[in-house]
């Protein structure tokens, strides 16, 4: 039997796409606030205004004729990232991890020619990667020097931490590790490994790749059962305070750990995916209902984090 019965899923508290769209995104995310997360430039500005650390901005390419300025922008850097401001699903993100004599290399070691960069940025500006194909701008960001604590956890790329924040409470988290299959990207549908994290401790609970449970990283064979994410407290605080910043009730926060600067907010997502449930081996619905049923005065960020740590802890499933 490859199919579950609907009532089995419903008993396991699994949130589905239709219910997410109607009961959570539709109900808690006001459309007027969407641009705060859909446009990464606005997100960055808001984060800086709220004292949330973000990767540093090298420059913005807004028009075709300024594409040639990119080499000058990234002069002297060891690497950089070009992403569309309004991209979706990780589309259109180009990561250059090595700059050598004006030649650029992807994490895989393949060279990226100037022509390819030009075309990529040009496509970005024309709106190829943006929602609804609207014209877009390209953001050039500094490369994150990722924390060596994650050495071996991820292949050719930075693992990022996704936390689902519901009405300001971090309720479920996962670590997304890129693999050879995902081409250095941390998107689960492209083949990255998702590791469910305990909200109380930041320790790994469960891991999947392509929705199938795994216990070792497919490329590095790193055992995924004994990961403990450092700076966990700061990560929870950053995620929780993102709620006040963008005022979206059902929010996905993507963060990375930088070697020197600690947790950085990469981007926010008003329509976070459902795979986090598979990575955690657990349905998210009971926690959403728990938070929905909370009454009483509004809590501060600290109170919310403490509440979440107390109520949303878990046992590992390895």
């Amino acid at each position: 039997m490859n199919y579950a019965w609907p009532w089995e899923l419903s008993r396991a508290g699994v949130l589905n796409m239709n219910k997410r769209n109607i009961s959570y995104i539709g109900r808690y995310n006001q459309r007027k606030f969407y641009k705060r997360v859909d446009d990464k430039l606005i997100t960055k500005e808001l984060a800086l205004a709220n004292n949330i650390a973000v990767p540093d901005l090298i420059g913005v390419v807004k028009e075709q004729h300024t594409i040639e300025e990119i080499p000058a922008m990234v002069e002297g850097r060891s690497g950089f990232v070009i992403k569309p401001a309004k991209g979706s699903g990780g589309k259109g993100i180009m990561v250059i991890t090595k700059v050598d004599n004006g030649r650029y290399y992807k994490p895989s070691g393949d060279e990226v020619t100037h022509n390819e960069i030009y075309r990529h940025v040009s496509n970005t500006l024309s709106g190829l990667f943006s929602l609804g194909g609207k014209p877009d701008v390209a953001i050039v960001e500094g490369l994150i020097e990722f924390d060596p604590v994650f050495d071996g956890v991820s292949y050719e790329g930075v693992p990022d931490i996704r936390l689902i924040v519901f009405k300001g409470f971090p309720i479920m988290g996962m670590l997304r590790c890129s693999t050879a299959a995902s081409d250095g990207k941390a998107n689960l549908h492209q083949g990255a490994v998702g590791v469910g994290l305990d909200i109380a401790t930041g320790k790994s609970l469960h891991a999947v790749q392509f929705d199938v449970p795994v216990d070792k990283h497919p490329d590095t064979h790193f055992p995924l059962s004994n990961i403990a994410v450092p700076h966990w407290e700061t990560l929870l605080h950053t995620a929780s305070s993102a709620y006040e910043m963008c005022e979206l009730g059902y929010l996905g926060t993507d963060m990375v750990l930088d070697k020197k600067r600690g947790p950085l907010l990469l981007e926010l997502n008003a329509r976070p995916g459902l795979t986090i449930q598979i990575a955690n081996g657990k349905g998210i619905l009971p926690r959403l209902k728990h938070v929905e049923s909370l009454k009483g005065p509004t809590m501060s960020v600290e109170e919310r984090v403490a509440y979440a740590k107390k109520h949303f802890c878990d046992k590992p499933l390895f």
Binding site: N2, Y3, A4, W5, P6, E8, L9, S10, R11, A12, V14, N16, M17, N18, K19, I22, S23, R27, Q64, K91, N115, Y118, R119, S122, N123, S126, G127, L128, Q190, V208, D211, V212, P213, Q277, I278, G281, K282, G283, L317
Partner: protein, 501 residues
């Protein structure tokens, strides 16, 4: 969170309105519920002939007004005569001429369609009937028979039934034989009913039989009880009517009155015809001016346009169902509907082959274009132009090879094809060929299902003839927009979440 109640009430209203409108159309305008349904129709010719007397002539002829038959077409042929048709309860044609001489013929032709509504209803009870006074010679005999039957009956109807049986009895009493010797059976029956004040009247009916000529109207008696006029056929000892009988005149008047003529008579000939039920109901609506909200009042060109447009809701419904309930991914939300529309012109197999060929060729050319480093707009424009070349090429080749099916590839929407090629090409570069086949296969699958739904002849018949259906589709789409349950594909996707417990 505001209440969902108004929404559900709205949806239910849409449902009821849609179904109600469709049923109304089906019953009131007799639009058939299935395509290709046939109905019988009767073409009846009435020929009125008389001899002119060199005087002004006026001919009154009763026209049929029977609820059991709808009049599809009627016309008259009467050269030299003035004609007025009065359209009140007693429909009547009145011909007139200043001077007539010699044999005259007037023709009236009508096409009737049976409605199955055989009851003649009249809510107003007829005014008290004048009691019939028997001639002295008949009085004793008649009063004895009527008195006996009256004693044995309870209602007008049972009284009439027993009288009719008595009239047709083989062992007639002497009294009855006496009465029948001076009266026709029909008149005697009527007199007997009237003598007891039972509301009854003599009507003229025409029995329909295929390919009959020189037929006459026959007389029948109607007896009123409880709002309905019941028909009695004395000659055949039969109560009630079948659908082969047209009541030509039943208001108690005469069928034919000729003033200024002699030897007048009317003969009927008739012919049965089978025609499409749909065409019949359209003709009927035309004559009744009842084309409200029917697309048949549009010019033919717009009609055929709408036949296509009205299929889109069906395709959209299929897409909504397959995406929301089943969870199939497609490239471009409504691209499959447009492809399915093209399939309707090309037929399925030709369409699938043509689509795959065009997209495959397009992808090859697109892969060359991607090395040229063009701006998105000009690249897509180039793809559109190339798609037109490809379509032109395929059409030419298939024409040369004598494959007429190939000519229909021109029906594919070119802009949509170009965008499909562009999206697939990006998908290929970013996620590899496997995803392209998944997304492309999903789109083609949805397009095929949509095509099968849209090309169904019953569906095509319904969406065009019963516009209420679109309200039902709207309501269904709205309800599906509320569906928060699991999609079919999610049952597989989230299987790991229940398997381990």
């Amino acid at each position: 969170m505001h209440s969902r109640k108004p929404f559900y009430i709205f949806v239910i209203l849409l449902f009821i309105a849609g179904i109600g409108a469709s049923i109304y159309r089906g019953i009131e305008h007799s639009v058939p519920f299935l395509p290709g349904e046939q109905v019988q129709s009767w073409a009846i010719d009435a020929k009125i002939s008389f001899n002119g007397t060199n005087n002004p002539a006026e001919i009154h002829f009763a026209l049929p007004n029977d609820p059991a038959f709808d009049i599809l077409v009627e016309n008259t042929t009467s050269p030299g005569y003035g004609l007025t048709i009065s359209d009140d309860v007693n429909r009547k044609a009145v011909w007139s001429k200043r001077e007539t001489s010699g044999p005259q013929s007037l023709f009236y032709r009508v096409t009737l369609v049976p409605t199955g509504n055989l009851d003649i209803k009249d809510d107003i009870e007829p005014a008290d009937t004048e009691l019939y006074q028997w001639p002295v010679t008949e009085q004793a005999a008649a009063e004895q028979i009527v008195g006996e039957v009256w004693e044995r009956s309870a209602t007008n109807l049972s009284f009439a039934k027993q009288l009719m049986q008595l009239l047709n009895d083989d062992n007639q009493s002497q009294n009855m034989a006496l009465l029948l010797s001076t009266n026709s059976a029909t008149n005697l029956f009527l007199h007997m009913l009237h003598s007891k004040g039972v509301p009854a009247r003599k009507v003229s009916g025409l029995l329909l039989e295929d390919q009959r000529r020189r037929q006459q109207l026959s007389s029948y008696i109607q007896v009123y009880q409880d709002g309905v006029w019941h028909l009695f056929d004395i000659h055949n000892n039969k109560q009630g009517r079948d659908n082969k009988l047209v009541l030509w005149e039943y208001a108690g008047g005469s069928v034919l009155d000729v003033m200024g003529g002699t030897n007048s008579q009317v003969n009927f000939s008739m012919l049965q015809d089978t025609r499409s039920a749909l065409a019949t109901s359209i003709d009927m609506m035309m004559t009744e001016d009842a084309l409200d909200f029917s697309l048949y009042q549009l010019p033919l060109e717009e009609q055929s346009l709408f036949k296509g447009i009205l299929l889109i809701p069906i395709g959209v419904l299929v897409v909504v169902f397959l995406r929301v309930i089943v969870g199939i991914k497609t490239s471009g939300t409504f691209m499959p509907v447009l492809i399915a529309m093209a399939f309707i012109q090309t037929t399925l197999i030709t369409g699938l082959i043509g689509f795959l060929l065009i997209v495959a060729f397009g992808l090859m050319i697109r892969s060359y274009l991607s090395t040229l480093n063009l701006l998105l707009i000009s690249r897509i424009s180039a793809v559109i132009i190339v798609v037109i070349f490809i379509i032109g090429l395929f059409t030419l080749i298939s024409f040369k090879l004598g494959l007429s099916e190939g000519l229909t590839v021109t029906f594919f929407p070119m802009i949509i094809l170009a965008w499909t090629i562009e999206r697939m090409s990006i998908l290929w570069e970013e996620e590899g060929p496997k995803k392209v086949f998944v997304a492309g296969g999903g789109s083609l699958f949805v397009a095929t299902i949509a095509y099968l739904a849209m090309s169904n002849s019953i569906v095509q018949h319904w969406v065009f003839n019963f516009l209420g259906i679109h309200l039902v589709i709207l309501a269904t789409v709205l309800v599906m927009g509320q569906y928060t349950g699991y999609r079919l594909t999610e049952l597989k996707r989230f299987k790991p979440l229940v398997g381990e417990k």
